[in-house]
């Protein structure tokens, strides 16, 4: 296996607040890697720093063997794409689905746009009936499917998922997760997935990293988590919290 993504001692600072304190991680190509932690633990910031949306103060990020600078080039965006948490905020309110999907193709100068849009919509389970709708004519799950189609249309090898299902209700959540899983298998994608839901992470990911206060707490495999083989108190607390209320 080859390294798809490696992050070395990454620091992100917002106005003197250290959101990430020297986090390192390595993701193999074709692997699905999870990031867990409570709100404010820096997991989303890590994702955004990789995507170039949050400024890295120090440390390095390497994608497919290429070290990234502060400015990302177009080739980077064809390798790495992201699906945002809130499907209600990640689609432009004045653009049709068609227009949304056409934009990345126009930016990267693809000629066979018509075919690609058709294929992308089919792939995420939306027929051509959805193609000319505005985002307010779609449900939450449909919106997230459009967002996934938009991320996939450039055929990236790495997909960053920032809590892709936390804004959706349970049944739709399962549909979207199954869709993601299926796409990953078919396209041999590498996933880096953020979630605060341990059940989702154990279902979707092979390895994961637990984060707290901008630092890595421990690296685990999904099996470790299922069998409760954790070494740190913080992870134990997370596990206990994920079981919900317990009557005493």
């Amino acid at each position: 296996m080859t390294l798809a993504l490696s992050v070395d001692r990454l620091e992100v600072v917002f106005d003197r607040f250290r959101a990430l304190k020297g986090v390192s991680l390595e993701v193999q190509s074709g692997e699905s890697f999870g990031l867990v932690g409570e709100s404010g633990s820096g997991k989303s910031t890590l994702l955004r720093a990789i995507a170039g949306l949050a400024p890295a103060a120090s440390g390095t990020i390497t994608v497919n063997g290429k070290r990234l600078g502060t400015r990302r080039d177009k080739a980077f965006y064809r390798e790495v794409q992201m699906v945002f948490q809130d499907p209600y905020g990640s689609l432009h309110p004045r653009q049709t689905v068609d227009r949304l999907l056409q934009e990345p193709l126009a930016i990267h100068g693809f000629a066979d746009g018509e075919k690609r849009i058709q294929r992308a919509l089919d792939e995420v389970g939306l027929g051509s009936g959805f193609r000319f709708r505005y985002s307010h004519q779609l449900s939450g799950g449909q919106r997230q499917r459009v967002a996934i189609a938009r991320a996939l249309i450039l055929e990236p090898s790495i997909l960053l998922l920032d809590e892709p299902t936390s804004a959706l209700d349970a049944s739709v959540q399962a549909e979207v997760l199954n869709l993601l899983e299926e796409i990953r298998r078919r396209r041999k994608l590498t996933f880096l997935m953020v979630s605060h839901d341990l059940a989702i992470i154990t279902h979707m990911c092979e390895r994961l990293m637990v984060m707290q206060n901008g630092e890595a707490v421990e690296d685990l495999t999904a099996d470790d988590l299922v069998q409760r083989q954790v070494t740190k108190d913080y992870t134990r607390n997370l596990l206990r919290a994920s079981e919900g209320f317990v009557r005493t």
């Binding site: 080039d73 064809r78 905020g89 990640s90 432009h92 309110p93 004045r94 934009e103 307010h136």
Partner: protein, 306 residues
Amino acid sequence: MSDLAIQSRRDWLLSERPASRMQARLGRAYVAWRRFSANRLAFLGLLIILALLVVAALAGVLAPYSPTFGDLKGSRLLVPSAEHWFGTDDLGRDILSRIIFGSRWTLYVVILVAIIAAPIGLLVGTVAGYAGGWTDAILMRITDIFLAFPKLILALAFVAALGPGIENAVLAIAITSWPPYARIARAETLTVRNSDYIKAVQLMGASPFRIVLRHIMPLCISSLIIRVTLDMAGIILTAAGLGFLGLGAQPPLPEWGAMIASGRRFVLDQWWVAGAPGAAILIVSLGFNLLGDGLRDALDPRSGDQ
């Protein structure tokens, strides 16, 4: 039969599953139109503006007399009558004809100012809002400087420097009216620049230029259209004010403000000379205001399910 055809056309427009780009766009326009036309006063405003357009276009046909040549010997300062509906002025010219031809100048001023000022404001505001930092600071301080001048006084200074005339009046009004548009566009830009859908476009590798032009500007345009329409009354009044002071349109142009100015001398005895163009300005300004209010209800992205 025809009812059925109308019904099916409406269904086609309001379809939840548009089959083409065209249908989606038309459907959207139809929803906005329905919301607009449900507002009676806004509809009245639209009718006034449409009437102004028709009158201006057909001025040569509609006007019963020449706007610039009068009968000095027989028809000076005549009372409104069947022959001269709005009476005549001190040079024996038919006031109705002058008002009809004057509508062209009013439209000329309003449209030119809108075409010059709105794009400048939109560009300055969106670039400042999206770029932030130094670009923002410099552009907005320039805007502040222009805002600090009283509108009419700056226009006066401009006209004094460039010479009186309607073109210079237009230029002067345009230069003093873009700063509020820049402010609006910047405020709108700041609310959307950090949203996920703009981040998503950044993540596709779009250039800042493309993001501003194709993703941010369309979001600012509706509030800008509303503001420009509401400002049009003010533009007409400023143009009329400059005309009144003798710095805008020069005689014998039938510009409404200049007509009021020339009627001022005998406003007590021959009130119709100043009164008729005054009423015309009032009605057209009212029309633009009503239209602007209606557009605000129809286009505002924050209202309804748009």
